[in-house]
Symmetry: C2
Subunit: 243 residues, 2 copies
């Protein structure tokens, strides 16, 4: 398979866990995104170098599959590779392994390149994509979109806080996941594990705004929507199993 | 000075930073608390071993002094030692150094031992305190308490979220700091750096409750209070400098 591989190990500490002692999903995504940004540094196409030229990567979709969520004190190894790209999209894969080398989670992500000033998507620039040695293809992946929430069973409002914004000046992807999962009852969260999440980012939320997180549940499936000014900013569909 | 020393290095990554690129204060406290819990493991008096006997450490106060907050990609070294203790209190110190060995932050913390079932403070048990080789003293430190908020300039409500609770089943200390600082205007936070914080934890907040974070500002001093059911759960006093 094309695309340079890059790995890092990560130990799960207490502030990465939820009440069950498992790694929280938002943190797993944080770890994976960090590994991808460290690979960019290693290949001399860092986010800082892109920023200096007014460019940035933005994630539009993650498809996350969890076999077994690691727990407090576990060490996991995360590997990433940017396998393929076309004119506008870069497809990046992530794998997490436990210490015995068992695959415990995967993530398939879609990245686009942004002109930071115009806040507009641009064609991928060769000098920032070639280093990953992914395969160029004319194919555009047709990934399923999460179903919208039709009749919410629960909704909560969240004001975007100063601490939700990182150095990249936008709300960290992991916060959307926290807002989504927080609409589920604690009893549900304690007795279920997420096995799959398809999350689609449509429109950035900015500091100071208040978002509404709406959730609809249908047995072991949950549907989520983050609304900002009445417009969907982020959608997700989750599959759960009982534990 | 008495008390075994223990150190760990930590690299600041993007999700540890705020919009200014500096390490967020809550994260610094998280890092320090982690180093202290890792020392406990190393000395074979881990939190898990205490939990097995129905005991736990609880922080009642932190006095934090910041000379220079580290930034994205900086590596810092955190050292801790439990210097002294008396019948009820253990006093622990933390130091953070930059890569050149300059002292950039300190924290002085007061710990008490809790009977986890009765949620009551108990006398320090020798077998869990001796390993640190701190000095036993009959002296009880008289640390200043933060001044209460009299006329709040700003207040916000926060619902305690599922993700705010960690494996220890209480709200991570760092979240109180986030609730407090979030009441300050972004413009103030961007143009000021915290140099000192005295934070006093009075009463635990539980999952599902809504807290009110109140703040009063007097020039370069800010006073903070977290109210839960009308009672103060946590108080703090901060000193800032312009940047």
């Amino acid at each position: 398979m094309a695309g340079k591989r890059y790995s890092e190990e990560k130990k799960i500490v207490y502030y990465d866990t939820d009440i069950s002692g498992r790694l929280s999903l938002g943190k797993l995504v944080d770890f994976m995104m960090l590994v991808s940004s460290d690979q960019s540094k290693q290949l001399d196409v860092s986010l800082q170098q892109m920023k200096d030229e007014g460019l940035g990567w933005v994630v539009t979709q993650h498809i996350i599959k969890i076999k077994k969520m690691p727990r407090l004190d576990d060490t996991i190894k995360i590997t990433t590779q940017a396998k393929t790209y076309n004119r506008f999209f870069c497809y990046r894969d992530f794998e997490a392994e436990d210490q015995a080398g068992n695959l415990i989670a995967t993530m398939h992500s879609v990245f686009v390149m942004m002109n930071l000033k115009k806040r507009r998507m641009v064609r991928l620039e060769d000098r920032f994509i070639e280093a990953y040695e992914g395969e160029y293809t004319t194919k555009i992946e047709r990934l399923a979109s999460p179903q919208p929430v039709e009749k919410p069973d629960q909704e909560h409002d969240y004001r975007v806080r100063f601490m939700d914004i990182d150095i990249n000046r936008h709300v960290n992807n992991a916060h959307y996941i926290d807002w989504m999962l927080d609409t589920l009852e604690p009893d549900f969260l304690l007795h279920h594990e997420l096995t799959e999440m398809n999350i689609l980012y449509k429109k950035e939320v900015s500091y100071g705004s208040t978002v509404t997180s709406r959730m609809q549940r249908d047995g072991l499936k949950t549907y989520h929507e983050i609304l900002n000014d009445g417009e969907p900013s982020c959608l997700a569909e989750c599959q759960w199993k009982e534990v």
